[in-house]
């Protein structure tokens, strides 16, 4: 690269960083005060783009930017007031489920309102052409964008440091309970913060339209990037987000400039993994303050199953045994899927429930199991039995490796590190053509002739699935399980009792990975083919949704969650045009009606003994 090329790529990096920062700043602000992991932030950005393109055709580009910003702020207020406000008392992460439902609904809403065709916005009047920098053309608009990030940073800094609202926001971010006790009206504060965050997302979206079209896929693609920036910068730290956006923007631009464009597939996740391993609280984040003892809420004790519950489960197992005799062939196919995902969800539950560690990347181990099984079968000609044995091994090894780093972190940082590792695993599967078949994946992973019928394979899945779930439940009530829960509820006390907290968590992480691998292996043989989507972010999110839907702090909840979600997707996609929105709507209803998850809330209704 010549000197001029280096400078121009540097400027390209700055322009990319600028749009990243605008989105990330809003996300960081919202998280800092409300502790909500807002999955719908990308959707707000997408709305900003659509509003802006639509308005620009009517009132021109420049008036469209503030108008779209206001519109998205309004949407943010709506979401906060109608939905999130009801959920602040619910267990952490349930808001995540709610915002996920919002993502589904907003995407279908945009499809309905603006149609399926990408909408390329106008160029910005006054900034349509190129400036000449060292004899090379560079878009004027990008220069404007480069100036925008520091400007917004300065404005936010002024707002937070010098205005009364800013002081209140910082107080609430520092210590929510104390701010409340001092008479700060949290309700309005939260709404205002959410509106401000949404406005920043909408502003970012509106400013993006001269550079990229408004399109339906942008929401999830963007929210992952924004999370990376926020976490690398340190949760809640706006200057941190600025630094992180700069770093990631530049790394990406230079990967492209130096000819390593294939690396841009994951480079931000590699950056995040490195930062989190070296500096667990992000670049400028502060370590989470230890929760005050009075505020420490331990999760309800997971009671062993009562006698009637055991009978009911045995009855259910008998029903499942008889299912192929009563149902048609497709019922068997669907039940096979349900069982596979039930094992997957149960494995995540070990991590999230008793382990207290949320994972945003559990699909990595599902996928490692599926690929492990598929690779030994197709590339090495191993029999199915061996392939199914390799599945948990491969997944367990992966989980042991990734988990060793992850358990050193906690909370959202831990979850984001699992996401980073999952993305890295995904990109390896996506690009290693010789071994994994690249983006097309592995084709022809079928069971041997004696298991070829759907019913025979179903019985295999049923046997292994019940065994796996049984083992997972057994583990929860073993000394290991109790030690794990002790580590979750009070790491300090557990340490004092001589429990090696990290060791327990690492073991749980590895075990959860192993069982996800079992599910992955069974999944591969039931489909005949696997491709990188088995370890992609949406699959991880599916698992999260299943566990949260069923109830984290219950034993059987994840199974119900898995069954309901899989069944719902199947039925809705078959019979409703806007099926994503339908699923989102059902999830919202369930979240509002059963804030403890289905099984969790049902248990509440039962008279206590």
């Amino acid at each position: 690269m010549s000197g001029a090329a280096v400078l121009l790529q540097f400027l390209n990096g700055l322009a990319g960083a600028s749009s990243l920062f605008l989105v990330a700043a809003g996300l960081s602000l919202i998280f800092g005060v409300t502790r909500i992991v807002n999955f719908a932030h990308g959707s707000l950005y997408m709305l900003g783009m659509y509003f802006a393109v639509w308005l620009a055709e009517r009132i021109g580009f420049w008036p469209a930017v503030p108008a779209a910003t206001l519109g998205v702020a309004g949407a943010g207020v709506l979401i906060e007031a109608m939905l999130l406000r009801r959920l602040y008392r619910a267990p952490e992460l349930l808001q995540l489920l709610a915002t996920f439902a919002v993502v589904l609904i907003v995407r279908d809403l945009a499809l309905w309102a603006w149609g399926p065709v990408d909408m390329l916005g106008p160029r910005a009047p006054g900034f349509a052409g190129a400036a000449t920098i060292i004899g090379r053309p560079f878009p004027q608009y990008d220069l404007l964008l480069i100036g925008m990030a520091p400007l917004v940073l300065a404005l936010l800094h002024f707002f937070l440091a010098r205005t009364r609202w800013g002081v209140l926001i910082r107080a609430a971010a520092e210590d929510r309970e104390m701010a409340g006790a001092l008479g700060v009206n949290q309700r309005w504060l939260f709404t205002a913060v959410f509106a401000l965050g949404a406005a920043l997302a909408g502003f970012g979206g509106a400013l993006a339209i001269p550079r990229e079209p408004a399109s339906l896929g942008v929401d999830l693609a963007l929210v992952a990037d924004a999370f990376v920036v926020v976490v690398v910068g340190g949760l809640g730290s706006i200057p941190g987000a600025f630094l992180a956006a700069l770093a990631i923007g530049e790394v990406k631009a230079f990967c492209t400039g130096l000819g390593y464009s294939k690396l841009t597939l994951v480079v931000e996740f590699i950056v995040m993994a490195v930062v989190l391993v070296l500096r667990p609280q992000g670049l400028l984040g502060r370590p989470e303050p230890a929760p005050r003892v009075a505020a420490l809420q331990s999760a309800p004790l997971l009671a062993p199953l009562s006698r009637p519950a055991r009978v009911a489960l045995a009855l259910l197992a008998a029903l499942l045994l008889a299912a192929p005799l009563v149902g048609d062939e497709y019922t068997v196919v669907l039940l096979t899927d349900l069982l596979v995902f039930a094992v997957f969800a149960a494995s995540l539950h070990l991590l999230m429930g008793p382990g207290g560690m949320a994972s945003f990347g559990h699909a990595a181990y599902f996928g490692l199991g599926a690929y492990g099984a598929g690779i030994v079968l197709l590339r090495f000609g191993a029999p199915m039995a061996l392939a199914l044995a390799i599945a948990p091994l491969a997944a367990g090894l992966g989980a042991a490796l990734f988990g060793w780093f992850c358990v050193r972190l906690s909370g959202v940082y831990l979850a984001m590190l699992t996401l980073a590792f999952a993305q890295i695993a995904w990109s390896v599967a996506f690009q290693w053509d010789e071994l994994t078949g690249g983006s097309n994946g592995l084709i022809g992973v079928w069971p041997p002739a004696w298991l070829a019928t759907k019913t025979a394979y179903y019985y295999l899945v049923l046997t292994l699935g019940i065994t796996a779930i049984g083992l997972l439940w057994r583990a929860i009530y073993s000394p290991f399980g109790y030690a794990l829960r002790a580590s979750r509820d009070s790491a300090l006390r557990a340490e004092a009792l001589g429990i090696n907290v990290r060791m327990q968590q690492w073991a749980a992480f590895t075990a959860a990975g192993c069982f996800a691998g079992v599910a992955g292996g069974l999944f591969a043989f039931s489909k005949g083919s696997i491709s990188p989507d088995v370890l992609s972010v949406p699959r991880s999110v599916d698992a999260l949704v299943m566990v949260l839907l069923g109830g984290v702090q219950t034993l059987t909840g994840p199974l119900w969650g898995a069954a309901l979600f899989t069944w719902l997707s199947d039925v809705a996609s078959r019979s409703i045009d806007y099926w994503r929105a339908a699923i989102g709507g059902v999830i919202l209803l369930l979240v509002l009606a059963f804030p403890q998850g289905i099984a969790g809330s049902l248990r509440r209704w039962r008279p206590s003994p």
Binding site: L8, N12, G13, A15, L111, P116, V117, D118, M119, L120, R123, G129, A130, P137, P139, R211, E212, P213, S215, G217, K252, A253, T256, G257, G259, S261, K262, T264, L265, L319, V326, G327, D328, E329, Y330, T331, V333, L338, Q431, G438, S439, N440, G441, I443, W446, K454, K527, G528, S529, I530, P532, D533, A563, L564, S569, D570, S573, R574, W579, R580
Partner: protein
Amino acid sequence: MKKLLLLLASLTLATPAPAQTVRIGELNSYKVFPAFLDPYRKGMALAVEEINAAGGAAGRKLELVTRDDGGTPGSAVRVAEELISREKVDLLMGTFASNVGLAVANLAAQRKILFLASEPLTDKLVWQDGNRYTFRLRPSTYMQVAMLVPAAAKLKKKRWAIVYPNYEYGQSATESFKKLLAAAQPGVEFVAEQAPPLGKIDAGAVVQAIADAKPDAIFSSLFATDLQKFVREGTTRGLFRARPVFNLLAGEPEYLDPLKNETPEGWWVTGYPWRQIDTPQHRKFRDAYMQRWKDYPRQGSVVGYAAVYAAAEAVRKAGSADTEKLVDALEGLPMQTPFGPIVWRAIDHQSTMGAYVGQLAKNDGQGFMVNWHYADGADYQPPDAVVRALRKER
């Protein structure tokens, strides 16, 4: 309890198929690629209406059972299972993304049911992973690249830069282009290769990197949002000034229309100039389509329309909807499409449907194709020996 209810629900939902119709089980990623698949669905519906109004195929009416496949191989396979076992369809049709198409093709071979892959472009579908039960309608990645190469070679440009979305379609387009162009024009150099992630191109950096390599010409297989970003950024930065660009698919209305005022003039593309094609068979199709839907046809409309006709022709020739007979009937079957006559090649089950090759131009803020000609798919195939070697099955 939930599972019991579910079981009961699923039992009551099971409806036996009426014996007299030919049931086409169609699955596609309607929610993931709506811009392409909405017109596709309309094309299919039009074909079914036409065929049934004319008395059906072999005396039997056609019935379309469509499903959203969720966009992943895992859910597509489940949906296909549902179509096979519960809906008792006679054949499967559809799919868009290559990985989904390959998964369903493999399932079709396993379950021994005909699969008419309408959209997926991957070469592997009919070659490395081809099987007896899978047929593909659209011209493959290889064929479309081969259609562009003669014009590219004619320009005698020495230094080429390549940009492609980083997944199998872009990779194999790039590989085929390099191989075919090097054969047609010995001594050609490939000076830069950019592989941004699908849907997430960092257009400024990519354009800059290509400009720095000082190529004489550019080959691209970008499409959809990546294409739009690349075009705008490249135009602003003067990348396309005095540099011919070849871009697969960019002439298809699905990808061309959103470009509007930005349409890069002079680019060589494969596509579908629906306004200008004036053959009787295309006029008939276009008129019927526009009357039925009050909208103009896209590439997807033609694909959906022709796919349903292919199914009908196969049933007509086989005289039944028996899978093995349908497969035998389709091998070597000639038929008419809006693009002209095609043949379903017996050797690899690829149809010879072609594409239109031409250059982009714009008028009144709208892109269209000029200097175009129809490239017949039959003329852009590798030698039979190569195909046989790739298709391990035979």
